[in-house]
Structures are given as structure tokens and as C-alpha cells.
Amino acid sequence: MKNYKSLLLLTVLLLACSKSSVEKAKSVSPEDFLVKDNEISGWSKAGTYWTAATAGDLSTYINGAAVIYTSRGFVEGAEQEYQGTILGGSVSVHVQIFDQGLPENADAVMEEVYKGLISPAEWVDGPGERAVIERLPLAQTILFQRARYYVKLDINDGSEEALNIIKAFANNVNGKFTEAGIE
């Protein structure tokens, strides 16, 4: 009888912990990992912003381009545009964060996007489990994947200064993953 009671108590505890984990997992969303105003000095939120928790929502914001995510386990997504200046010129950064449910789904999305790049380079000491940078004359892109999250960052400036800025954005997002215990 004593053993039975112990087993019951253990089960209840396990269920409570399990519920707590699920609630914790649900309590974070891609929006929580977006860079806040002036966390990157001089860069503030401006322009495009959306969050999507269903395939329908995502289609509302990015139309047919939603397919790449919705066909690979899409759970939630968020985008925020930021504006700042580089060498006196106005520049925009777009940050998109997608929760694809499972690491393999996030990796599959990243691989699909990666295949479409013409000159990607691995960012060896970059954020997440895998990160790539593409530098083109007028714009630069960073993709990285960490756990079930796929992150895309884009800046409309091809300079070294812009590369440092977009790297700072990527590292900031990655730091928020760490703070949230995303492994």
C-alpha cells in the first residue's frame, strides 16, 4: 500500500512537472526573441511587423511564400523591421523568426532557403546550430537555425558596417534563445 501511495505521488509530481514544461514551452513565442528598441544602439522598430500563429495568418502576411513554412511544421512566426543609419544613410533590417515545431523542420526550412542562395558562406562561429551569411552588392542576409527555430535577417546595405550590424542583430536573437533555455 505504501509503495502504491509513493508511486501515485511520483506520478502526480511527474505530471505536474510535465504540465509546467508544456506551459513554459507555450509561453514563449517567436515575438519574444525579437530585438528590442535600441538594444542595438541606434536601431529602432519601424515599418513591417506581424505575428502569425496559424497557416492562414501567415498567408495573410506573406501570401504564397507561406508554403515553405507551412509544409514543414509551422507553429508560429514573427517579423519586425528596424531602421537606423549607416554612414548617414537610412538603412532597414528585417528579422523573421519561425517556430517550426521540431529542430528537423527548422533545419529543413533553412536548407530549402539555403539552396536558393547564390553565394552563401558558412558563418563558422555564428549563432545557433548552423549559420550562413550571403553578401551581395546592395544587401546582406543571415540565416541560422537553433532548436526548432529558423531565423532570417536581412539588411539593405552591402557595406562592412552593415554586416556588423546584422551580425549584432543575429547574436542578440541568439542570446534571447539562450536566456529562454532554448537548446
Binding site: 515599418g47 513591417t48 498567408s59 495573410t60 502576411y61 506573406i62 501570401n63 504564397g64 511564400a65 507561406a66 508554403v67 515553405i68 507551412t70 523591421e81 544613410g89 532597414s92 528585417h94 523573421q96 530549402e112 532557403v113 539552396k115 536558393g116 542562395l117 547564390i118 553565394s119 550571403e134 551581395l136 552588392p137 546592395l138 544587401a139 542576409t141 532570417k152 536581412d154 539588411i155 539593405n156 546595405d157
Partner: protein, 443 residues
């Protein structure tokens, strides 16, 4: 309404200033034979100008010159208003013209400055004895949300150019599309517009290879997500062959001032072709657009690969145009902003030592170009004054070498604040000679 560029003058200057032209057919006198039917071959006009883009920012005045040059080159008619009017058979003062733009991603959308150049051209049409009413122009895309995020202002009122989204108002009837889900069509197109201008943007695309005029209509249909199987092929051809689209679309124009070549469609501009592409044949236009992307490094432009929908659209049963360059008449107009500034009378230049061209556009609402030519090095000072005699700003003060020079006034004061509508004077001090130009700013 005053033409931005006068008739024969533009053509003469454009030909004189054109650095080169490519043509798949005999087109030595390409502007001279304005009676020739463009339908004989699919004519595609590419206008490129070195001054069109600076650090990702489009020069509105140069863009207008390019748009005017392109539409005249496409039609062979050397008047902007008449050239546009020729595209709309049977147009009346009550006809409505839609301009379908692409505003899906704010990072790479049809630029408002490009759209404004089409609007300005349409307003120069004389229809039933009057300028075409601007309220009969609808700039549209999928939703108000998309338009707003890309810098457009929603206007559903009775004055001004209208601008609004479909906002889920699609036809109750749905149409079968080969290789895709059934689609309903925007009621802006089916119920309101008699004619359509397809104003797309230069993008590559991870699924369809490229996203040009044919793919722009994914913002016209109700379920674009259901159109992406098999590289969007043959769904894009099938969609574009619906009569609501095929019969109303009179011209496809690609805003190729900037473009994406990698990882599209959702990226910031990566290259600056500084171009506009024009054709009545959407397949030919997309072919030339794909070639432009390829020339800039894009790897998804193969008509037998990812971009196969272009070839399909040109084949039976769709027959929307041609993707065969041998069936196209390709025209390249280079640097029209320089050619319209060309000194028209070298005798004046030699006699006075300089010649000042009329600023253009004039009237203007964002930028106007002040250009002049010097026969010898001179001290030059250019100031803008208001009609009350107050100095607004100094545009230039310094030595200039012989040759042609140009400055843009963006309607701002010395401190960068926009000035109000009104009459302004450009005061040129060249050596010991002073000349003025009147400029009409309309906000």
C-alpha cells in the same frame, strides 16, 4: 496638361543620346516608323539610366523620364499622352484603369516612385477632350495592409488617384486552374477596371525561379498558396489566360530599378539594374526580365528549369506571348535623362558660353532636375528663391568644368524641410551672367 517632354524633341534627343541598342529584328529606324504594328513581333523596350538609383534611392525625376521614354519607345508614338492612350482601345472618360502592383514584401515592392510615373503618364492622356481623370485610376494589390506597409496611401474617395486592396473581395465564381486549386479573382479587376497595367518588380523566387509580370497575378487570385506546385507550372500560365486578366491587361511593365537575385522573393534589393522593362507581351517581358536577372548573377532563370512557367505561357494552349527571342523586337534606350538634357543648339552654347535647359519635370511634386552645359570652365552658383524674394537654398556653388551638368532640387529648404506648393525661381549665376528659371512645385 503640359507634357513633361515635348513630342519630336524627345525622340530626336533620345536617338542622339542613346548609347546603344540591341534588336532582334531590323530596327534601325525604330522610332521613325511609328505606324509599324508592334504586334508583328513582340516588342520589348528596356530603358536604363545611370542616374536612376543612388544608394538604393530612386531618383523620381529620372524615373519619370525613363517611363516616358519607355512608353514612347513601346508604342512608337512620340508624345507621352498619346502613347499611353494608344494602349487603351475604346477608352472613354469614364473608363477605369487599374495598376496592379506587387506589395507582398515591403523590402522589395513596386516602388511608389515607379507607380507615380505611370500615373503621371496616364494623366497626360487626352480622352473625350479632357485630361484623363485621375480618380479613374486605381492602384491596387491584395490588401490595404500590403499597400500601406509598402508606402502607399489608401484612398477610396472621389478625388485623387484611388488606391486600395482587394481585401478578400473576390468573385463568387471560382475558376479551374491547371495544376492548382480553384481560384477566384479580385473584384477590383473584374468589376471596376476596364483596363489593366501590370506593374511588377524584378525578383527571383525560390519556387517559380523568377517573380515578374506573370507571377504578379498571384496577388490577383484568392488562393495563391495553392498555385505553387511544380514550380508554379502550368498554374501561372493557366491563371494568366483567364479572360479577366488576359483581356484587360494592356501592358506589362517591370520596375527593375532594383532587384533581388538570390533567395527571393522575400529579400531586400540586392542589385540595381536601374531599368524599366516594357512590353504588351507579358511572356516576352518576363523573358527579358529573367535575362536581366541572369545577367546580374541569378541562377534560377532557366526556361527549362525553375522558370519554366515562362516557356509554358508562350505555348499552346495558353499562347500568351512568346519566350523565343527570335520573335521579339528588343530595344534598349540608355540614359534618356542625359539625352533630354542635351544642348539643342551648339551655336547658343558657343555664343554665350553656356546653355540652361528647362527644368524637368515642371510642374513637379518631389524632384526636379536643373541641367546646363558649359563651353568652358566657369564659376557656377545655383540658388532657389521663393516668390517673395527669400532664398530657399543653395544647390551648388563652385567651379565647373566644360560639359553637361545637372542638379536635383528635391523641394526642400536649406535645413532639409519640405517647402510648400508654389512658384520658385532657380537663379543661375554663371561667370558674370545671371539667369532664372521658373519652377512650379505642386505638393
Amino acid at each position: 496638361m503640359q507634357s513633361l517632354i515635348t513630342r519630336r524633341k524627345f525622340i530626336d534627343q533620345t536617338i542622339r543620346g542613346t548609347a546603344g541598342a540591341i534588336a532582334a529584328s531590323a530596327c534601325c529606324g525604330r522610332f521613325a516608323d511609328s505606324s509599324a504594328s508592334p504586334a508583328a513581333l513582340s516588342r520589348v523596350v528596356t530603358v536604363r539610366d545611370d542616374q536612376a538609383v543612388d544608394k538604393n534611392v530612386i531618383n523620381a525625376a529620372v524615373a519619370q523620364i525613363m517611363m516616358n521614354a519607355g512608353i514612347m519607345g513601346l508604342t512608337g508614338i512620340d508624345d507621352v499622352g498619346e502613347a499611353w492612350r494608344s494602349l487603351f482601345p475604346g477608352i472613354t472618360a469614364s473608363s477605369v484603369i487599374g495598376i496592379k502592383i506587387n506589395c507582398l514584401f515591403s523590402s522589395m515592392a513596386t516602388h511608389p516612385k515607379a507607380t507615380a510615373t505611370v500615373v503621371e503618364g496616364l494623366k497626360q492622356m487626352i480622352v473625350d477632350g479632357n485630361p484623363f481623370p485621375e480618380n479613374n485610376i486605381i492602384v491596387w494589390d491584395r490588401s490595404d495592409y500590403d499597400l500601406t506597409k509598402c508606402g502607399y496611401t489608401i484612398n477610396t474617395g472621389g478625388t485623387g488617384v484611388r488606391c486600395f486592396g482587394t481585401n478578400s473581395s473576390y468573385t463568387s465564381q471560382s475558376y479551374s486552374i491547371s495544376g492548382a486549386s480553384k481560384q477566384s479573382i479580385s473584384r477590383i479587376l473584374t468589376d471596376r477596371c476596364a483596363f489593366l497595367v501590370n506593374l511588377c518588380v524584378l525578383k527571383n523566387h525560390g519556387i517559380s525561379g523568377v517573380s515578374l509580370s506573370l507571377k504578379n497575378h498571384l496577388g490577383t487570385c484568392s488562393d495563391p498558396g495553392g498555385m505553387h506546385d511544380n514550380y508554379c507550372n502550368p498554374s501561372l500560365a493557366s491563371l494568366n489566360s483567364l479572360s479577366a486578366i488576359r483581356d484587360k491587361q494592356v501592358v506589362a511593365i517591370c520596375d527593375a530599378f532594383l532587384g533581388t537575385i538570390s533567395g527571393g522573393p522575400d529579400h531586400s534589393p540586392q542589385v540595381a539594374p536601374k531599368s524599366l522593362i516594357f512590353s504588351r507581351d507579358p511572356v516576352a517581358m518576363d523573358y527579358v526580365g529573367a535575362q536581366m536577372l541572369k545577367a546580374n548573377g541569378c541562377s534560377t532563370t532557366s526556361l527549362t528549369g525553375a522558370s519554366r512557367h515562362i516557356a509554358t505561357a508562350g505555348q499552346s494552349p495558353y499562347n500568351l506571348g512568346t519566350s523565343d527571342p527570335a520573335q521579339m523586337e528588343q530595344i534598349l534606350i540608355e540614359n534618356p535623362s542625359l539625352s533630354t538634357h542635351a544642348p539643342r543648339d551648339s551655336k547658343n552654347l558657343l555664343a554665350d558660353g553656356f546653355e540652361i535647359d528647362p527644368n524637368h519635370p515642371n510642374p513637379f511634386n518631389s524632384d526636379t532636375v536643373l541641367s546646363y552645359s558649359l563651353a568652358r570652365s566657369e564659376r557656377v552658383r545655383i540658388e532657389v528663391w521663393n516668390s517673395h524674394g527669400g532664398k530657399v537654398c543653395t544647390l551648388f556653388d563652385g567651379e565647373r568644368a566644360p560639359g553637361r551638368h545637372a542638379h536635383v532640387w528635391n523641394g526642400n529648404s536649406e535645413t532639409g524641410s519640405p517647402v510648400s506648393s508654389g512658384i520658385y525661381l532657380a537663379v543661375f549665376q554663371i561667370g558674370s551672367t545671371r539667369r532664372t528659371l521658373r519652377m512650379d512645385l505642386l505638393r
